[in-house]
Amino acid sequence: MLGLGKKDASLLLVVVALTMLAPFILNPFPSDSGMAQFNAGYPDLMQRFVIFGIFAIGFNILFGLTGYLSFGHAAFLGVGSYSAVWMFKLLSMNILPAIILSVIIAGLFSLLIGWVSLRRTGIYFSILTLAFAQMSFALAYSVLTPLTNGETGLQVTLDDPRILGVSATADGSIPVTNLFGLEMRSAYDMIVGPWTFTFSVGYYVCAIVMIAAFYLSIRIFRSPFGMMLRAIKSNQTRMNYTGLNPKPYTLAAFVISGMYAGLAGGLMASMDPLAGAERMQWTASGEVVLMTILGGVGTLIGPILGAGMIKYFENIFSKINDGVLHTWFSFLPDGIENFMVAVIHPFVGKGWHLTLGLIFMLVVTFLPGGLVEGGQRIAKALRKKDKDDDGKSPSTEPAE
């Protein structure tokens, strides 16, 4: 199907099903129950899942295939966001030209940075990309204030020209981002009994873009080009003595992953039309590295899982404060209740990074292949158990 092997096609279908049904899957708890705070099915967070999924998929094309660890990919995401917001300011609130421009500008920007950084390998390459990203951050934060609006961040305002659209709507407010009139913020609530499922236009636009991005990444993984990238990771000396210059391949991979980052940045601005310098900071670059490693470096679906997991922790665990903890343990005697809250307190709320750090350490130590390897091990164990059960079943099955 679509030029994919059977296994890849089914993986793509799984991703399509998961993203399309996400409003249901991420909202398993009734909206007035105590567990409702674990629901992640609200548009803002779902959009973040898929947007960071795109970012991580792209990053994995560079890091997973060629082994070049870039610590500066947030710069491309930031550049994408700024380009998109400028498009909203100057052209129109339609997200299509904005996203196209973000991808192009991020591509050009990554071509420039990649051209220089790829002269070195290993740790020196990582440091070069980090240096470039921090330079971009500094530029965006202060030097290029006319272009980026400095620390306030770039926003759409009422007196932007918007030559193909309107500066302000009839009632005097700022127009909202849309795709040929379809507003990104519009959403439909489906109420089934105690459950509320929200279907947002913005989320589905992002999800469709992510599926396309995922499909492209499968094609890259399974192509001769992808094989060359894996060969570069494996042995650059042999690559050279086989008559292949690794540089154009690594540069192409770098630019492709930069364009993915630009796409993610453009989508982010399309959902919420503002862009700030903090998107380019080194912590943001580090986050995508964590996502990829947590999910599984060099696997197809790993980066999406890693992105989802980190964003879930960031948004759900950080909301659990002491008040919530007290309600959880209220059934215990007062002393023990306070003790339990004190023990868990550092791991939730503002301390969610601690939980994430622990999980990251556990994954890297015990599952070097990330969540994907964990899934594979579980599947293997289940299959083995199934076989064992089949073997035993004739004798052990109780007669009914």
Binding site: R219, F225, S234, Y241, G243
Partner: protein, 253 residues
């Protein structure tokens, strides 16, 4: 006029004159061995031929073109393939994938985003790879993870990867170093077969005299960065200068 002409090549590393005025001519479709004691400059000379090092003086001509100033991948494209002392293969890939890299490189299919299978089918690459693997007796290992193979198998895979590109000149850097006797003999047989079947020139650097005398048509003896003698194996065997270089000065009794 040989296919490879080395003229007055010199290379100095700081205070060490690694090569001084090396002249060498390798005739087409012969096997030319370069021998010499440790530190004679054999590997330095080889690195000068493939673009890893640039000689300070002299010229290196291959097939009428200078190789100096070209990078290793460009020199490979001119028709020189190199087998390393420790096999350089793509350890993360399977044997078949290892074979595909040089094939894609040669056919220039490497930038395509079509599925690998369709590109392979279109150009008959699988068949070519299988023929080559059969020649080195590795067809049964085609799906194996190449990092997990024995050193002998890695060596044969590396040679297959070089040969599938149809090079004009094959450079071998101590191809049997660290091999067991049986593996060494297999490698000799394999190289003999390759020599017979193909129009190929082989230049070999080797310590093992058994390998050298079973394969070489001409032998150059290097000592302290300069060629001592160049002659046929028969004449080299009893040459006093060679014995002197290897064993030290003959003592008068």
């Amino acid at each position: 006029m040989g296919i490879l002409e080395v003229k007055d090549v010199g290379k100095r590393f700081g205070g060490l004159q690694a090569l001084g005025d090396v002249n060498l001519s390798v005739k087409e479709n012969t096997c030319h061995a370069i021998i010499g004691p440790n530190g004679a400059g054999k590997s330095t000379l080889l690195n000068c031929l493939v673009g890893k090092l640039i000689p300070d003086t002299g010229s290196v001509m291959f097939d009428g073109n200078s190789v100096l100033g070209r990078s290793p991948h460009e020199i490979n494209q001119m028709g020189i393939s190199r087998v390393f002392q420790t096999p350089e293969i793509f350890g993360d890939l399977t044997v078949m994938e290892n074979m595909m890299i040089p094939l894609f490189a040669k056919r220039d299919g490497a930038y395509r985003l079509h599925a690998i299978e369709s590109v392979q089918a279109e150009k008959g690459l699988i068949q070519q790879a299988e023929e080559m693997l059969a020649e080195v007796n590795m067809l049964d290992k085609r799906e194996m993870h190449s990092a997990s193979m024995s050193r002998g198998d890695k060596r044969r895979l590396e040679m297959a990867m070089c040969l599938v590109q149809d090079p004009k000149l094959l450079l071998l850097d101590e191809p049997t170093a660290g091999m067991a006797r049986a593996d060494t003999n297999n490698t000799i047989d394999l190289l003999k077969e390759i020599k017979e079947k193909r129009d190929i020139t082989i230049a070999i650097i080797e310590h093992d005299m058994h390998v050298v005398f079973s394969l070489a048509d001409r032998i150059t003896v290097l000592a302290q960065g300069t060629p001592l003698v160049e002659d046929t194996p028969e004449n080299i065997k009893g040459h006093p200068k060679v014995q002197e270089a290897y064993l030290g000065e003959t003592q008068q009794v």
